[in-house]
Amino acid sequence: MRRAALLCLLASPAFADTLATDGPTLTTAPTEWLGPTPHLVIMGTLNGHEMNIQLTDMAATAVAEFAGKREYLPGDAGAFRYGDFEVGLKATIGGVERSIELEFENDDFASVTLPADFALGAENFPKGNAAFLEVSAEWEDASGSVNDEIGALTGTLSLLLDDGTPDDKGLRADGMIGGLVVAENAGETLVISFTVPVAEYEIDD
């Protein structure tokens, strides 16, 4: 294969691809958060991939892992800022093992009283009611490999749930995080409702 053709192939999004879970119950994207029971619903389009992921039974065999992680950043006087949380899914969708990760950033999510709306934008770790969202999607199937990292989506994150038990540092490695995302990127729209159990935290030094 010649170089130009190779690069065009590598750069082309898979517009015909559709990620759909079995037995979807929603026919349109949610307009409200779907509640505190662990779930992940992603509907819309991401980098050419049609998404109709409706996972409400996280004990299903198709779900290998569904977990959240908080990331804390060094703050003033030995304190920490709650700068990042991740929602990670590893599940078999359409017969293919797929990994999807949502990563949200703010200067300090703990500084905002919930429920709260955050404007999504391009700035990393923005202050106040703003957030940065990156969506990562990876899988490998007969047509090749997908490694998408779509950052700086615009839109809104409505954060409605973020609880857990602080340890002796005041950091939380448990509880739940839940909310609704209505996002846009390059003319595509993506709606995400999630409630994820938190399994760990990490201190980014």
Binding site: M1, R2, R3, A4, L6, L7, C8, L10, A11, N47, A64, E65, K90, E97, S99, A122, E138, W139, E140, A142, G144, S145, N147, D148, E149, I150, G151, A152, A186
Partner: protein
């Protein structure tokens, strides 16, 4: 933003006329190692001089330690030694006996750790861990890439840091104890990782992940004057990252192999002394007897003849493997070489 830039770059590249370009080669892997539950990164190949069939593949898991695999891919051992990033191997003499010495960069505590390898297996060297950041060298931070080198003046550990620093330590041994002495240091402009020494040519190659590949003299008495081998974007590195680097050295030809992670390919540069190395091929590892290779971090090659592989093997980390694991794929070098221009 990154995806937008990549899309624009790709469109521009697609619009370019065809020029002298690397050959596209596709060679499936023949064997894969067992999956690592953590996050595999960098392999190294130990060739058993007495019995090549009993050679080993070492593989770092940057969440937990060092895997040891046989050439069949089966796990022989796991040493839970921490967040090991890169690993490399050189022949060494310990207590007057020839062995192999493997070293690795450890991210938990910015140390270099060493292993002794012989027919008995892989074991900790003594001392095992060595601080990698000198107390009198400010600004060095966050250990990352690692390689080893060897020339007439000695054996070296090369370690780089996310701060851009590259440190060259001389490794010496007395009464079975190894020690490190800083021989030289320099700095590159941004985060490096992959490194390899071309011992016979006296070169060190350093990958700057978002920038390209540099060459430096191996001799620590010389200034670390950089020579640009390739720069992103280029036909072989159209996008970042540059990751693992390795040297295939045989009478048939000498090559630098680089992981072009952003396009899931191994870029092959032909080496000829001090001349600028042209990139001659991009190697894809598609699905075959085992699944394909994607998003490779580290890689390693050997030109030593191994069972079924008369010209050696290329080993590449694979980021997407069944069961949400990562692992290492083994590719026959002769199958690659047969297509090289």
């Amino acid at each position: 933003m990154k995806s937008t830039i990549e899309a624009v770059t790709a469109l521009l590249l697609c619009a370019l006329p065809l020029a002298a370009e690397p050959l596209a080669i596709a060679v499936p892997a023949t064997v894969e190692t067992a999956g690592t539950g953590g996050d595999a990164d960098d392999p190294a190949i130990w060739v058993n001089p007495a019995d090549p069939a009993e050679s080993l593949i070492l593989g770092t898991d940057k969440q937990g330690g060092l895997f040891v695999f046989g050439l069949d891919g089966a796990e022989r051992a796991f040493l839970p030694d921490g967040k090991l990033n890169n690993v490399d191997i050189r022949p060494f003499v310990l207590n007057g006996k020839p062995v192999s010495l493997a070293g690795a960069s450890k991210r938990d505590d910015d140390t270099l750790v060493f292993y002794v390898i012989d027919a008995a297996g892989v074991r900790h060297a003594s001392p095992f861990a060595h601080p990698a950041i000198p107390v009198d060298l400010p600004g060095v931070d966050d250990i990352y890439g690692f390689a080893m080198a060897q020339d007439a003046s000695g054996t070296y550990a090369l370690v780089n840091f996310k701060s851009g620093h590259v440190l060259q330590y001389r490794i010496t041994e007395a009464a079975g104890q190894i020690s490190l002495t800083l021989a030289r240091h320099w700095i590159v402009g941004s985060q490096p990782e992959g490194m390899v020494a071309d011992d016979s040519a006296g070169h060190i190659y350093v990958g700057e992940e978002d920038i390209g590949i540099w060459r430096f003299p191996l001799d620590p008495t010389l200034a670390a004057q950089p020579f640009a081998v390739d720069t992103i974007p280029s036909p072989c590195l159209p996008r970042d990252d540059v990751e693992g680097l390795a040297i295939h050295d045989s009478p048939k030809g000498r090559y630098l192999v680089a992981s072009a992670q952003g396009i899931h390919r191994a870029a092959i540069y032909r080496l000829d002394g001090d001349a600028a190395p042209p990139c001659v091929a991009l190697v894809e590892i598609p699905a075959g007897p085992v699944d394909g290779v994607t998003e490779t971090d580290g890689l390693a090659v050997t030109s030593a003849a191994l069972p079924g592989h008369p010209e050696g093997v290329l080993v590449m980390m694979d980021d997407q493997n069944a069961g949400y694991t990562t692992n290492f794929k083994v590719i026959d070098w002769a199958a690659i070489a047969a297509s090289l221009p």
